[in-house]
Amino acid sequence: MSGSPVPGGPVLEADGALKVFPGVTALDRISFALGQGEVHALVGENGAGKSTLIKVLTGVYRLDAGEIRYRGERVEFASPLEAQRAGISTIYQEVNLVPQMSVARNLFLGREPRSRFGLIDFAGMRERASEILRGYGVRSDVRRPLGSLGLGAQQMVALARAVQADARVVIMDEPTSSLEPREVDKLFRTIAELKEQGRSVVYVSHRMEELYRLCDRVTVLRDGRVVHTGPLAELERLRLISLMLGRNLAEVAAEGLTKFGGRHHSHAAPVLRATGLSRRHVLDGVSLAVRPGEIVGLGGLLGSGRSETAKAIAGALPLDSGEVAVAEKPVPGGSVAAAIRAGINLLPEDRKAEGIIPTLSVRENIVLAALPRLSRAGIVSEGDVDRVVETFMRRLRIKAAGPGQRVAELSGGNQQKVLLARWMAMNPKVLLLDEPTRGIDVGAKAEVQTLIDELAKEGLAVLLISSDLEELVEGSDRVVVLRDGAVVGELSGAEVTEEKIMAAIAGENDD
């Protein structure tokens, strides 16, 4: 470890921190120091231990050995509440807020404005909530249940909540994974303000541009150990990636940043054809076709109808009108089962809520949907199941203690691979991928991209949704651009560039 001096003196430190989970040493006696007024990047592959470090710093988990110091004094926070009271406020990676409660109540939970007699002043609370959130670009009615807002807006509420006047330290665990550019901008401005005020920020992200734009110093974790800590500006991007991956520089350089191969050319008849998909306020006559062996990208902002299009094709969103056909055979609408029978499989955006069953094992999650195929006369062949599970765990390089490990215990990237494995075990014809690499680290991202590429080469029709323009451009053979639930452009071949996609999103060719 390079012992660079901590600027402004350390505010929050971990010293020899050890945290062991059954079967995994999540933190292996690591030391970490956050300076006064600095923005400190915490990076590492999925499963490196970033979230665990944050949780031991903020009283969610107890350390097995070592100590935490805050403002020079040893602390043992018994709960996140104590850490918050001491001035450490955190946006955790997973769900932070309560979806059933209103936006305003979520924002103020635990510090509601009081009126006479110490009772909560709801009118004042709503007014202040609207005012604060307008500053974050959230213009929804603050009485709405939080869960009815988009993921990005929810994340902005979490940010507004975390950035309180009394917070000396603000910790953000992958805050940008569900934000759109406008919101990311606001987040960055907020972080800059925090820094100006002399407050400290711990920032976890996989996005290189963000890290270099925002952060002063970096700590790189790998397999629960600190492999580097020091000023970020002095560290080259490739060197940082190689530290995270534990691979050497030449290897990373040779392989580029995304893992998609060349274009696939296909002249076969489309296997998936969607015509005039419409649903009031959501989709407005969306039509598209995907040939076997082709990757078609769906471009557009959050809320433009990309996920809804995928869901509609997969039978998970009832339609007012429109038709989906696989190999020219119409698929009955509004039924996920019918879509699966026709060979359409969807990898949903929110894998926690819509895909993964965290309490079940890797094995059970993989074969869940394929069970009918793996059984004869209703009897499941254990041998077949083992073979399928083993094949996919190896092929997708799923990192788990074994097929019996609970999926909840895997890192995000590995959970995503388990979901992919589930659908691949079904021998699908059409694969709909909604943000397949969101929130997973560089290494896992590259692997998932390679895999998508391989699948297309094998003749699968792939519909790819990604907010990462680079990924969309490099991955797709064609890109269909949506805005406000309608198709506003289609690009193919050499037209598929970031500029053209953004122009279509912005509507520059309309007028």
């Binding site: 309560v98 059933q100 109540r105 635990g110 759109e180 550019p181 912005a506």
Partner: protein
Amino acid sequence: MTTQTTPAPPVPATQTSRERAGRLFQQHGALLVLAVLLVAGTVAFDSFTTPANLGNIATASSFLAIIAIGMTFVIISGGIDLSVGSLFVLGGVLAAYGSRYGAAVALALPLVVCGAFGLVQGLIIARTRMAPFIVTLAGLLAARGLMLSLTDEGATTYLVEDDLFARIGQGGVFDVGYPFFVMLLVLAVAAVFLQRTGFGQNVYAIGGNEDAAALMGVPVARTKVVVYLVSGLLAGLAGALNAARLSSGVTILGIGLELDVIAAVVIGGTLLTGGAGTLGGTIAGALLLGVIQNLINQVGGLTSSFQQVVSGAFLAVVVVTHRVLGRVREDT
């Protein structure tokens, strides 16, 4: 990526009218049905809308309503309390037994003992994270056992020996008994706590998402303990009032009462999954069950078991309606 060229996406500004209708029905559906039944009862039976009969419904429903207030806290917090039926009976026996030492003891004894039951259940649920269903089922059996041992297996019935205490249960203003006013008082205090204090917000938060609430700094364990304590206290209070009304600690009434209580809460629009619900709905739910019972008695020739059939059918309708409304809201 350049971010300047991207326009702001449409932001949903307010709730849609469909969302609002769904919420309104969930929150006030019981009240609506209650109004309809009152009108129907007036039209169908001359003897229904008399002051004596309405006062009787109000008084008879207040015991269930008081317990249901506590249960509302429990269910909104994401839990369930199966012990309240047994605690209600135990409270009644203790009140009757204590009445020989005066009204104060008759009231305090059930509150202390039933409150202690609630407190212990809350501590076990909060500390061990055992399922509330199991813990309060054990509480149900323990409270029933204690009650049976106090009454020699139900052979001994204690009579209320204090006139002042008896009057709390039997007196009233015009045709409405004091227990109804006690219920209103409990309701007022509970509503302030649930809606206007940090404690109330915490109850909603842990019912909505316990993990997120803990990460947001909600004192989850403490909140749960208080919730079960309140439920136990109110079950004891209802038991005491009932004993005062009947002049004795009756040992068989109230067996299975916890299910009626849960039914009243759910009919009142509180979601069994936690995180949402109102006390107003609960009271409407309790009164609704009372009115159904009264109407069935008016019909005559039907046994009171039939009331359970009607309440059960009604509960099923409510739960299905919740589900449908919930889906509407997710879809839009």
